[in-house]
Symmetry: C2
Amino acid sequence: MKNISIGLFGFGCVGQGLYQTLNQSKNFAGYIAKIGIKDPRKKRELPSHLFTTDALSIIEDPKIDIIVELIDDASAALEIVVSALKAGKSVVTANKKMVAENMQLLVDLQKETGNAVLYEGAVCASIPIIRTLEEYFGHEPLTEVKGVFNGSTNYILSRVFHDKLDYETALAQAQDLGFAESDPALDVEGYDAKYKLCILISHTFGLHVHPDQVLNLGIQRIKSADLEYASAHGWRIKLLGHAQRIEDKVYAFVMPRFVPINDNLATTENEYNAVVINGEFCDNQWFTGKGAGSLPTGAAVLSDVSALSYAYKYEYKKESHKENVFFSNDSPVKIYASFQSPEDVLLNDFDQVIEKYFSYDHCYVVGTICLNKLRTEIWQNNPHINVVLTADTLDNSLGKLCVNQLKVEIDELKKGQRLRKKLMLQL
Amino acid sequence: MKNISIGLFGFGCVGQGLYQTLNQSKNFAGYIAKIGIKDPRKKRELPSHLFTTDALSIIEDPKIDIIVELIDDASAALEIVVSALKAGKSVVTANKKMVAENMQLLVDLQKETGNAVLYEGAVCASIPIIRTLEEYFGHEPLTEVKGVFNGSTNYILSRVFHDKLDYETALAQAQDLGFAESDPALDVEGYDAKYKLCILISHTFGLHVHPDQVLNLGIQRIKSADLEYASAHGWRIKLLGHAQRIEDKVYAFVMPRFVPINDNLATTENEYNAVVINGEFCDNQWFTGKGAGSLPTGAAVLSDVSALSYAYKYEYKKESHKENVFFSNDSPVKIYASFQSPEDVLLNDFDQVIEKYFSYDHCYVVGTICLNKLRTEIWQNNPHINVVLTADTLDNSLGKLCVNQLKVEIDELKKGQRLRKKLMLQL
């Protein structure tokens, strides 16, 4: 096997994890030839001649075989990946935001240049899900992909339920332990999980859905009354990413959900992630593992580097059938919405209200509401509203018509009938 | 993509599953050209010109691209696989006994002929574990592979604990539902799980261990007193396959084990299988899915057929390091052994006895005992003895020296000291 020389960008948590796994792995012939960094003054543990701030000198170095991009900044990451592909080099990246927001571009560029972009480390770290979807389930008619995709929020929710901490204390603890970013918005508002969900959708259904199209509601507005409500019903709350195909539509969203205590999703705790897929042949498949951390993510990156060494590429096998499926937010979901005072929530937004509870300091409604409605200003930005999917939500509502949608359709139908009458009269 | 023509052997449960998944899969170009069968008089749902009893005519047909072997008989299966490889054809098989008992031969023949043998369907049906070990964890220093590998016994144990059925009733129910063979020995005595474990050991540690070397104790001797003992402690009983590397030794066995109710292994129920691996980088990884059934296994076979279409082969990446690890049964394990009367069990066989209980109709001992001792006649064949690994067994005992072993070492040490004294006197 050729001794592969790697041009690495970024030497943070994951970059150092890659360095360590490369050194400790017994049967992989590869080494880090050069490391591109932003701040040359930062103290590093490796010899200084390995580091450079000149990105192009790495990308264009003919002695460097492949590029591994492990920086935080999504637009700088995109620039590196695009330049590397155009310069004739294949790339491994773990930047989920960059991949999710530019999937179509990356697919096109891979076809154009013949070089590969692999990004297993971008989705649930050590869980080998992208390659498994591509290779193993490439011919399986998959119907669903869902799971716990964010380790930080899962750690927070585990602490909240097990140690009875309130949300703020658990978040602070997660930050102290390095599980959450100092700006935790990406994690707790569900963006990180959404990027991963979008990447999974590409490989599950062959649809490239831009993250902007997908609803994400986070865990940042959960109140202790919500936790009590969950516990009283024998439930936990988990932040779930969910994508499901029903006939020719794919519905997807990231939302907190009530999960029965004995459900395997409820027992996925702390920094662990879970990915669940369902297919017509294979039925229900679970993958669980550490979704974050220097070594688990480093090992995922190493695995991609190894795949590049034998010229592996994603084939995007499901893409050839994407003309048959469409992304849609036109579906009701059954939610629990809690809020501070009755005027916070417009009951008219619901397709159907099943339960209502109002008291001086806590109100909630259980009912069905259209995904499109949840994407509007008031539901997105009112800090007093907390939304949690009910435990039975998907069995009941997903894939049905929203009432508003139904009204439009009825109007269309009436218009059609009038038109037909008119035509009949003319005949 | 080339339209691959398949020569199929066997048209039972899995063969028909492959036929169905091939037909329903939207993006796979392949078809079954010919089916080799044993009994030409049996009524079939497909046109008769597809069937033949002449195996060679399929294997040597130049219009047939690959061979898929899905028959029950392990020695006939081996003959088909060997002939096909030698005739220049790659093969997919789901025969775990044949693969496990002939791993070294199959590896050598693949190297010799340049053709491939894939056998994902042989291990836990729809769980994509072999390919994942090969490709994704090829460079990961793995330390453990374990899990619930047999759907029939897992169904029986689920019914025993959930419906409070006794063992015989649950077995009869499993047989009625087609989950267990009419001769259930292969399942309930742990042979089926052992074949899978041996195949997993090859791809996890690069060691080809013959099934005869590995201890298997089944669930057929579990008595209601054992179930009560488990329940009283808040445990379930699961039949587990387990292989673990400790320093340069790999220990492996199939045995029933007490599992705490909240352990994920305990919540793997009915015909579901679970495979758990542990690695130095990736830490703890779980894979769960249906371990049996026509479509899940058929889909696994289809996935291998698809892999052959782009010339995929197992590389046996870990094999290059096998000189560093050795298989061993020289380790104590901590067990619960129940028996009918005190003379059934030789207390002297134990390295250490921790608990003893004797009554008129039920006796048990908890203690540590060497794996090698459990492989002797009396422990294997006495129908009155039931052995279950304790819930904490592996944390405490595996990898330590057996007491017998220890005695030898002490003798050696004493000899060495005497020798040193003698040498000192001579100086």
